[in-house]
């Protein structure tokens, strides 16, 4: 009885493994067979991926994902991911493709297959009251600056420019503290700040400094999916050439970023 049970498990595992290998052999065939592509996108990062008032996920990245689905002639399923689980979702095959504001880093390339060229790029900037008249990063010296706990640029901002970092758990708390006057500025991704400055609620605020730490974003497929990888590479080149990224930025209220402009010209 015991042996039988063990045998059964072993058999199931072997079977699962062989199907898995078959599936992983080519994810494109699998997507077409399923009729749906599952794409991991952000749902809390306006305007790159966020929930509309009716609950559906919209934004620049979901639209890019839709392009891929249209090209393959399949339906799309958005899977909301966050920074701490996005690579795992892709690794475990819960999503076929991940476009989730991920900064392209060498150690991440070991876990997932990040597609070249990079589709986007962003850096660090601050949101601050216009009335403070901040011009240079060094103007932050000695001032309390809100941040997000765990962001890599906190240390740099305080070490290089002498700002006193006041870091909160999430963006909502940091924005509230900035509004209440507990800090002089909020240091965060420039792509997110740009969207805030467009918000009428933040009318008196600006993004006054030159962006630093500009880093490219990478979309990713599973390791070993060479055919899908090559296809996505072609799609990204087409996005840049046709000005699709620039159009989407304009559509979602983002000033055209230097990165997107350069990629379009080349």
């Amino acid at each position: 009885m015991q042996l039988n049970f063990v045998k059964k498990i072993a058999l199931t595992a072997a079977l699962a493994l062989s199907t898995a290998t078959a599936v992983y052999a080519d994810v494109i065939d699998d997507i077409k067979e399923r009729g749906t592509i599952r794409v991991g996108v952000k749902a809390d990062y306006k305007p790159y991926g966020f929930r509309d008032t009716d609950g559906s996920i919209v934004g620049i990245e979901p639209e890019l994902a839709k392009d891929v689905a249209d090209m393959l002639g399949v339906d799309i399923e958005y899977v909301p991911v966050v920074s701490s689980n996005r690579m795992q979702f892709l690794e475990q095959g819960k999503v076929d493709l991940m476009i989730a504001t991920m900064t392209d880093k060498p150690d991440r390339r070991k876990v997932v297959s990040i597609v070249d060229p990079n589709y986007y790029s962003s850096g660090t900037n601050i949101l601050a009251l216009k009335s403070l008249g901040l011009k240079e990063w060094t103007d932050l010296k000695g001032k309390p600056v809100c941040g997000i706990q765990g962001a890599f640029y906190n240390k740099a901002t305080s070490q290089n420019y002498g700002a006193k970092i006041v870091a909160f758990k999430g963006t909502a708390e940091a924005y509230a503290a900035l509004k209440a006057g507990n800090c002089a500025a909020f240091v965060y991704d420039d792509s997110a700040i740009v969207a805030k400055t467009k918000d009428p609620e933040w009318a008196g605020y600006e993004m006054p400094l030159a962006t630093i730490d500009d880093a490219p974003w990478g979309l990713a497929v599973q390791l070993g999916e060479d055919k899908f990888h090559a296809m996505m590479s072609g799609i990204i080149i087409a996005w840049h050439k046709s000005g699709r990224i620039l159009d989407l930025e304009t559509k979602w209220g983002v000033t055209n970023t230097p990165f997107a402009k350069t990629m379009n010209e080349n």
Binding site: N154, K155, A176, A177, A180, G181, N182
Partner: protein
């Protein structure tokens, strides 16, 4: 001293045990700041919460119904809500209602900063428990002792401060000890409103260096030592208050 610090760099290279607050000046500054903020926050909150406990227990025995009601409402409110919710409430909800003052960087900010709110919130939180703790001690003082004091012409305040409280103190120290230990541990919640205490600074360090395991171990030991010092102080106070025939 410098060689001592460098030894930790060697330790990191040889074993992978990364303690950047030992060899990196900047991170050492962060940890020392955090440690100082935790000690300061704990000491101030312990002091205020004990005062609140003593005063609250006295007011609870007030002949006026209104005073007793107010103390009871305070206890229910602060004892029955989570301290983290209280911190958020004070900092984000009350914080925007209080007057703003001109600050030194050219803007206006609320009169009370995150550290101030942490002191207020945590003192009242632990104070609510302390009121009940002191009450239990006061109720343990024999009625006949108080009647004797009344007969000798002591006023209500005199009876409380010279007779009831000193006797009650000897009864409540073990449970007061418990509550104050909890208070010191609860100061870590101030991390949520960005008070740069030990947990907050440690979080900054492990985010930059990805040495979560080492920092967790360090935090555990640090709080064990800090609370250990408090417990030792409370125990020696307990011993020094010993009087024959009462309590022990």
């Amino acid at each position: 001293m410098e060689t001592f610090y460098e030894w930790f760099l060697v330790l990191y290279e040889d074993t992978g045990i990364n303690l950047p607050f030992m060899y990196d000046d900047y991170d050492r500054g962060r940890i020392l700041n955090g440690l100082w903020a935790t000690i300061k926050l704990s000491a101030i909150c312990v002091l205020f919460s004990v005062i609140i406990g003593m005063v609250g227990a006295w007011l609870q025995g007030s002949p006026w119904k209104v005073t007793r009601r107010v103390v009871n409402v305070y206890i229910q409110l602060f004892r029955n809500t989570p301290p983290l919710v209280q911190l958020y409430f004070f900092y984000f909800a009350v914080g925007i209602l209080i007057p703003r003052v001109e600050n030194d960087w050219g803007g206006t900010s609320p009169l009370i900063d995150s550290f101030g709110w942490a002191v207020i919130s945590l003192s009242f939180f632990a104070g609510a428990f302390n009121v009940e703790i002191f009450r239990s001690g006061i109720e343990a003082v024999p009625k006949s002792t108080i009647e004797a004091a009344k007969a000798l012409g002591f006023s209500r305040l005199q009876i409380y401060k010279d007779i009831t409280l000193p006797l009650a103190l000897r009864v409540v120290i073990p449970s007061l000890n418990n509550n104050l230990v909890n208070l010191v541990k609860t100061t870590t919640l101030a991390y949520a409103i960005a008070v740069p205490e030990l947990l907050y600074e440690s979080n900054q360090i492990w985010s930059d260096n990805v040495n979560v395991t080492e920092m967790m171990l360090f935090l555990l030991i640090a709080y064990f030592v800090l609370v250990g010092i408090l417990v030792w102080a409370m125990n020696s106070w307990d011993r020094s208050l010993k009087i024959p025939g009462f309590g022990q």
